[in-house]
């Protein structure tokens, strides 16, 4: 079997991003989601106001953290959905299209996150 050179170089990177995204999502997202999506809206805890949040996000390390929090889980999502569509729903004839759409959306989300975090003040 002859593999395309581009696939050979890209697959391990995508696998690493999937794995890193899985770790980030497993450790960090539940607490964020619980506070932001459930506890704050229901009034179980006081929602951080605009000024405290902007002061927090102003710190470069917090921005870096938020960038990682947003970007790698998107690659995790892309990888899983790609193979779920492949194995689960057996959509095999659209393999390339699905891969481009999945990883493309992850790249797009990463760019948006970078742009927003770079320009926030």
């Amino acid at each position: 079997m002859e593999a395309k050179p581009s696939q050979l170089r890209l697959e391990p990177l995508l696998w690493i991003l999937f794995s890193a995204g899985g770790v980030v999502a497993a450790f960090l997202i539940p607490v964020h989601l619980f506070l932001q999506g459930i506890a704050f809206p229901l009034g179980w805890a006081r929602t951080p106001d605009y000024t405290t949040t902007t002061a927090l996000v102003a710190h470069p390390l917090v921005r870096l953290y938020l960038f990682v929090l947003c970007s790698v889980p998107l690659f995790h999502f892309a990888h899983r959905i790609r193979y779920t569509l492949y194995d689960g729903l057996q959509i095999k004839h659209l393999n390339e299209v699905i891969a481009v759409c999945c990883y493309g959306s992850a790249v797009l989300g990463t760019l948006v996150a970078g742009f927003l975090l770079w320009n926030i003040h």
């Binding site: 497993a26 605009y50 902007t54 948006v112 927003l116």
Partner: protein, 141 residues
């Protein structure tokens, strides 16, 4: 049947592999399969969380009114319900990820393999600590 001598340009037989047709809904047939697919589907909720966070950052960059608008959107009962569902899926991802890492990571100390329960146990402990630190940052404001 013609003999190979009379037909020199014969074609080789290419038998197609026998493959049993698998139903598109194979993952509904057993709980283990369904659990696998639900684990994969949890990534959709991970993506939903990221998109929400990006919208939040956008609101933050637009100013106090836009940010208040985002916070009000979060108070919509449908959004809260969606976030509750998301939360369960994301926790499901965490649990499956930690038990997976116990099998994927082979740690040896003194030539003996560290039992998987210890690896996933330390993962859970780290999860608790990390969550507490993040909660402290978000709750002290």
């Amino acid at each position: 049947m013609k003999s190979p001598a009379s037909t020199p340009a014969y074609t080789l037989n290419h038998p197609r592999w026998y493959r049993k047709r698998v139903s598109t809904y194979w993952w509904l047939q057993r709980w283990e399969y369904l659990r696998f697919v639900l684990r994969e589907v949890s990534s959709v909720f991970v993506a939903f969380f990221v998109v929400t966070t990006l919208v939040q950052l956008y609101g933050l960059s637009r100013g106090p009114e836009a940010y208040a608008g985002f916070q009000n959107w979060l108070k919509n009962p449908f959004v809260i319900a969606l976030n509750v569902v998301s939360f369960f899926f994301v926790v499901f991802h965490s649990i499956t990820w930690f038990s997976l890492s116990a099998r994927a990571m082979v740690v040896r100390i003194g030539g003996k393999r560290v039992p998987g329960a210890l690896i996933s146990g330390s993962n859970y402990a780290a999860w608790l600590v990390v969550s507490a630190v993040i909660a402290w940052f978000l709750l002290r404001g």
